[in-house]
Symmetry: C2
Subunit: 187 residues, 2 copies
């Protein structure tokens, strides 16, 4: 399913999955390395600043995956509400596939750890990218610039908050209910 072309990719991918499950501080380097079946030397060769560099690479990796999911939901959509609904259902499915436990890959990796300005800036940049991407799709589906950004922001917070609630409830049902709440919202 997932091919790792390089040692560096394999480390970022493994770290991403583990950070999603237990958060930045909850995962030790030894755990990452044993999962990736790689020695410590490789890690510090590819990521000179160690764990923090690895976390940022892992978050970037996860962000790319999410952008793909957004595109997959919106490209075939006939209307914005259509794409939004598909996106929530795709995320609900993903949540279930991840064992109904994992958190948002970005906030779990970059916002649950120490007060690190670089982490904060990267998370902001990643979230902005997501919202921008959703807004772009909204515009393509005939929504005006300003409203598109508002709707995208609304969708983002509902997804982020809904995912958190789904974790607590150990059920993706609430994610599937979200489209009902957001549908036809003018702004």
């Amino acid at each position: 399913m997932t091919k790792h072309h390089s040692t560096k990719d394999k480390l970022a991918w493994t770290a991403s999955k583990l950070f999603q499950e237990k958060g930045y501080e909850g995962v030790g380097l030894s755990e990452i390395l044993s999962n990736a079946k790689l020695p410590k030397g490789s890690l510090y060769h590819h990521f000179q600043k160690g764990k923090s560099d690895l976390a940022m690479a892992a978050a970037s990796y996860a962000s790319r995956e999410m952008l793909r999911i957004i595109d997959d939901a919106f490209v075939p959509a006939k209307t914005y509400d259509d794409g939004m609904t598909t996106l929530f259902f795709k995320c609900a499915k993903l949540f279930d596939l991840m064992g109904k436990w994992n958190g948002c890959p970005i906030s779990g990796t970059l916002l649950s750890g120490p007060r690190n300005p670089a982490f904060r800036d990267l998370s902001n940049q990643i979230f902005e990218t997501w919202i921008k991407r959703i807004a772009d799709h909204a515009q393509k589906l005939g929504i005006g610039t300003a409203e598109a950004h508002d709707r995208a922001t609304h969708l983002f917070v509902a997804l982020q908050g809904g995912w958190t609630l789904a974790r607590a409830q150990q059920s993706s049902d609430v994610l599937r209910q979200m489209p009902k709440f957001l549908k036809g919202t003018p702004a």
Copy 2:
């Protein structure tokens, strides 16, 4: 401002603040104890299971604070939209007071840590309590039972997600924009 009647309360309060800032795994017992100016013996006397017991007490403490904020927002409200708007603004202010860094006290404490079923159950119970409380206020303001619950859930996820986005952006602006998105939503 905050009086601690007992050693136990002081520990729970201190732990709650630190967990909000750095997450469950990000805070060491030594840090909690030095902040509370209490020895380790006291902690293990009052919380037999140690850190995990303390985290659950801290989360319960924080939950009570949030319920008070919800009541403060809705009790004087003339309409649901009124109360909802006040709640978002109160939370935005709180976010700023906390240095624009802290996360949700519940998810940071109970959902960022290890796969602990007791944590998960407690977080679910706490979130349900919040949503129930909001729905109760909605009903008092003339909204029907089913719609009240939907609106409360919608408000909750927007608050949770908005708070996360606010952290990334280091700004509470997005929280203050949320009422505009949710206003008059039929369900």
